[in-house]
């Protein structure tokens, strides 16, 4: 077991322990119903979180994803229901818009050296604002395609419903793993997150990769918006407010270091499901106050970060002084 895998292992163990605890109290956690619900209810968060994983591995951050999801939903609903456009065409347009949106943020970040935090914060305001400008009503979508998609369900014997959203989530997960570990683009993302100047020296196209990372993130957020719109059959500009923070937390809980260079897409998958499990538990318990979810997620965040810190500080576990480790020689 290499040390790189350790955070992932801990994430997995904590998830298993919490899931086992929930199962002990509520038998339904053993059914495909809960499993499917977790997948479909968190599909949009998960899809966007996979994009965010790439951004964070590259050493950046993307605060715009929640707004992009909302904008996409509103745009789809408006164009399909009000303008009567063909859904496929609308999807193509909105994906194109999302892609350009991400690329522009990437250009601002890479070429104009505007910190990712602020650039994507502006993106967050812009996308949310555009959604509000389009409409603030909650619009229902009744296009036949949407009905057809909602019928695309595999029903398990115990009535667990494996829907299109769940499928899309898993598909994006597989593609995300493929991208991260089996393509040069993915490895380049790890490289620039590890050390971007070194990556540049090694011939990694840092500019292109950086822009592509933000493009991918916005593209996936847009896709998440489409998935959410398909599964809710509606568009609403007030959804997923603050989702970016949940997503960032999920990525960190999944074992990805915010400093960049280290992380796993599969970890993000678990990181997304974990708050979902806790929320389900609170719902079934029915008397615990809603604020516990926030406090527990905050506590988990703290726990995982503390653990990562302790791991990286080895062997001197309790030395708080900054270790000047000779990882690179600089004698210039």
């Amino acid at each position: 077991m290499k040390s790189r895998f350790f955070p992932l292992l801990v994430t997995f163990l904590v998830f298993s322990a919490i899931y086992a605890y929930c199962y002990y109290h509520f038998s339904s956690f053993g059914s495909m119903r809960v499993v499917c619900n977790l997948l479909r209810d968190n599909a949009h968060l998960g899809i966007a979180a996979i994009g965010m994983t790439f951004v964070i591995i590259s050493g950046g951050i993307d605060l715009s994803v929640g707004s992009v999801i909302a904008f996409t939903g509103v745009f789809c609903a408006l164009m399909i229901t009000r303008e009567g456009m063909d859904p496929y065409l609308v999807f193509a347009i909105v994906l194109g818009m999302g892609t350009i949106f991400g690329a522009v943020m990437g250009v601002f970040i890479y070429y104009f050296k505007i910190p990712a935090f602020i650039a994507t914060l502006s993106g967050m305001f812009l996308a949310r604002g555009m959604a509000y400008v389009l409409t603030t009503e909650s619009i229902r979508i009744t296009h036949p395609l949407y009905i057809r998609v909602s019928k695309l369900v595999y029903i398990f014997p115990d009535k667990g419903r494996f829907t299109f959203a769940a499928g899309a989530f898993l598909a994006v997960l597989v593609i995300g793993i493929y991208l991260a570990h089996f393509t040069r683009f993915g490895r380049n993302v790890y490289a620039i997150g590890g050390n971007d100047t070194a990556a540049l020296m090694m011939g990694v196209p840092v500019g292109r990769t950086t822009i592509m990372v933000y493009t991918l993130s916005s593209f996936l957020a847009t896709f998440a918006g489409i998935v959410l719109s398909l599964s809710k059959r509606s568009g609403d500009s007030t959804i997923t407010v603050g989702a970016e923070m949940d997503i960032i937390a999920a990525v960190v809980i999944g074992g990805t270091l915010l400093t960049g260079g280290v992380g796993y897409v599969i970890g993000t998958f678990i990181g997304v499901l974990l708050p979902g499990v806790i929320r389900t538990y609170l719902t079934l318990e029915g008397s615990l106050s809603p604020w516990w979810i926030k406090i527990v997620v905050g506590g988990l965040l703290f726990g995982f970060i503390a653990m990562q810190k302790l791991l990286s500080a080895r062997p001197k576990l309790f030395s708080f002084k900054r270790q000047v480790r000779p990882t690179t020689v600089s004698t210039a």
Partner: protein, 369 residues
């Protein structure tokens, strides 16, 4: 040469009390010509506001209280200004504090819950208004200490260290009020948000005093210098003997205290504490204010005055949108565009790119000269 040696090598008596003279304006407007862009942006936005509403600059005295859009802008900007003061110091050390909004909610909740006990007739001295304010500020300082410990002692990246309290803090605030939004009637606490002195709203004084106090604290001691040196080059500062741990603890505690006072103001304005919405997204406003004020997110040189101006820019933008005929939904779009414009104007790389674009024009002009 001998004389020089003496000067160089004899230790000087440091404790000799010396009057702090030689006040320099450049010490206020730090950050090169970034100051220019910030001031320009504020002036432009104020002028646009004036165009939208002819009475924008009109200030009237009504019942001993100054009223007018300008006063409203100042009043409304006070909480953001307070947050941006703390945030400036944090950002100058290469950090960021995402938790200020949640800390506002926590402190507002604490003050409301405690004062409710006082109003319910408890004789406990701790529930007296003055103590309640002190306790709320202390809670804010503790929240700051928590962030500071994570960042300075455990060396956790600031953005993630403060994300913990940002996520959990609002939950804690809700837990304190038991999910309610308690109302109170206490006049002392209400004065924090509603009171006036000489016609000017009290929050404006609070923000101004905080600005002056923190300014003096960092510029009349060596703190400002040490904060900047840690932010610019942590390693070199470490080698020079700067105690980065203490500096970082200090800035996060200041940020926590500023957030606590901002929380008290927001609660006092309406004499109730709403743990759900108090300070929501104000961390982002504060960060934007600091960035517009020319302090780089990568740390280093900072200017408290310019950050306060950044806060004013944000608030005058908001007020401008309130009074304009613009659809309310366009708020965020306008905000995003203004932020991007200011940032682009500050970006050296952007200016170079634009310069390249206009190079042919300049060349042409040179030919015709």
């Amino acid at each position: 040469m001998v004389e020089m040696e003496k000067q160089v090598l004899t230790p000087v008596n440091e404790n000799k009390p010396q009057k702090a003279t030689n006040f320099k304006w450049r010490n206020i407007f730090r950050g090169d010509n970034r100051a220019l862009w910030t001031i320009l942006a504020l002036i432009i936005i104020l002028l646009v506001d004036r165009m939208v509403s002819p009475t924008f600059f009109t200030v009237r005295m009504i019942n001993g209280r100054l009223t007018g859009s300008l006063i409203n802008t100042l009043d409304g900007a006070a909480p953001i200004m307070l947050l941006s003061i703390g945030m400036t110091l944090v950002i100058a050390t290469k950090g960021v504090d995402l938790s200020v909004g949640a800390v506002m909610a926590i402190c507002a909740a604490v003050s409301a819950v405690l004062i409710n006990r006082h109003e319910a007739g408890s004789d406990n001295i701790l529930y007296y208004p003055g103590f309640v304010i002190a306790i709320a500020i202390l809670v804010g300082a503790l929240c700051g200490l928590w962030n500071g410990v994570l960042v300075a002692l455990f060396d956790i990246q600031p953005i993630i260290a403060t994300l913990i309290l940002m996520v959990a803090g609002r939950g804690i605030a809700q837990m304190i009020t038991d999910g309610q939004s308690p109302t109170y009637t206490d006049e002392t606490l209400a004065f924090m948000g509603q009171g006036t002195i000489l016609g000017m709203p009290f929050p404006v004084y609070v923000a101004a005093i905080a600005l002056v106090v923190v300014y003096l604290l960092v510029r009349r001691t060596a703190l400002g210098l040490l904060i900047e040196s840690v932010g610019i080059n942590a390693k070199a500062s470490h080698y020079t003997g700067v105690n980065a741990t203490v500096i970082k603890l200090f800035v996060y505690i200041i940020s926590g205290i500023c957030a606590a006072i901002a929380g008290l103001i927001v609660a006092g304005e309406n004499t109730y504490a709403d743990p759900h919405t108090a300070g929501m997204w104000s961390e982002l406003d504060a960060i934007v204010a600091v960035v517009i004020g020319g302090t780089l997110l990568s740390g280093g040189r900072f200017s408290l005055v310019l950050s306060a101006m950044g806060a004013l820019i944000i608030q005058s933008l908001r007020i401008g949108l309130y009074i304009s005929d613009l659809h309310p939904n366009a708020n965020l779009v306008v905000k995003a565009i203004v932020i991007l414009l200011v940032l682009l104007l500050q970006s050296k790389e952007f200016k170079q790119a634009v310069g390249r674009l206009f190079k042919p024009v300049l060349k042409l002009r040179a030919v015709f000269k």
